[in-house]
Symmetry: C2
DNA sequence: AATATCGTACAGTTTATTCTGTACGTATTT
DNA sequence: AAATACGTACAGAATAAACTGTACGATATT
């Protein structure tokens, strides 16, 4: 029979934070952000920067920058409580939904950016003059061009797939 | 009218490598691995470590460890050519399919691991004695327990979702 | 058998990321 | 208005990741 005391619940919580953080890493969160995020998630009430700092044993500055990052990703929100001067933050409602939304959004955005970069380069390549080049270079250009077309198609596929994911997502225990 | 010369095709290729690498980062590849992978992908024929080293301007040791990593992820394969002593590697056929497979596999594996870790801790928590604890700790234990159950559900959902993705994937231009 | 070539283990260096303390602007309290 | 509390910009320190050169075992060549 194991006894739970103050010490061991802290320990378990720390372990949980680290374990869940690994999963969040998959969804593109840095380890630092993940730790902060899970800390907020496990805390039933909104937290101040000082509380987070205390809970994680890291500086308040780190909390400040971490929170900003999580806010940008739409995973955390600021809440107001009458009479409290300090900023209060909490993990967003519908955590898992938001997590997926954030991830999917990030992926689509990135895919879109990279796609247009590639299209720009593809255009640059195809509209250029190939006069006076030896056959080797012409072949290389052709090969590269073909690959780039495939890449662009792939990025389009990513955009579509993640769009489908977004509209079909079905996780809802909350 | 832009003229293509040796210099500029190298430049474009480098840009393409860096751009596509960003997308691969989303799928959990490190930047170093991505660069190597795209280099192989853009090269029509299998490459030796020395060729990669030369193409990327990095040491052969880096190529060796990078290739090992890509092999483990199932993204690269070794090929044999009669009379060639050096190891030859190429990006796998059905690149995009493999990329997704690898990614999905990675995610499911990770989700599974974290799930069982969490279940173990959950069990530890629920089977322990709560005698002689004040109400505050009991509440904290309850809260934590509830969160962990949600987390476990979430990991199960990930496993299922990615399994569905795996069987439904529809990208096929190759 | 001796020599050369190849791939990688290992340890140390370089580079990038993360974290911290100080300092300062803004807002609140006295 | 002075003093206190708060959040964050910034620069430097600590930590982690990526890269390299040397060394060595294994295989191939002479």
């Amino acid at each position: 029979m194991v006894l739970i005391d103050h010490h061991s619940i802290e320990d378990i919580q720390t372990k949980v934070i680290h374990e869940f953080s690994k999963t969040l890493n998959i969804f593109g969160l840095s380890t630092a952000d993940s730790h902060l995020f899970v800390t907020l998630y496990l805390h039933k009430s909104p937290m101040t920067l000082d509380e987070m700092s205390n809970a994680l044993g890291k500086s308040k500055t780190s909390m400040s920058t971490g929170i900003r990052s999580l806010l940008e990703q739409g995973l955390v929100e600021r809440v107001w409580k009458k009479g409290v001067r300090k900023d209060l933050y909490q993990a967003n409602e519908n955590l898992y939904k938001n997590l997926m939304s954030s991830y999917i959004h990030k992926c689509r955005l990135a895919a879109g950016e990279q796609k247009s970069s590639l299209m720009k380069m593809e255009n640059e390549l195809s509209s250029s003059s190939k006069d006076g080049l030896n056959e080797e270079y012409l072949n290389r250009v052709d090969d590269l061009y073909g690959r780039m077309q495939d890449m662009i198609k792939f990025h389009e596929w990513i955009e579509e797939t993640f769009h489908t994911l977004k509209t079909n997502r079905s996780f809802s225990d909350e």
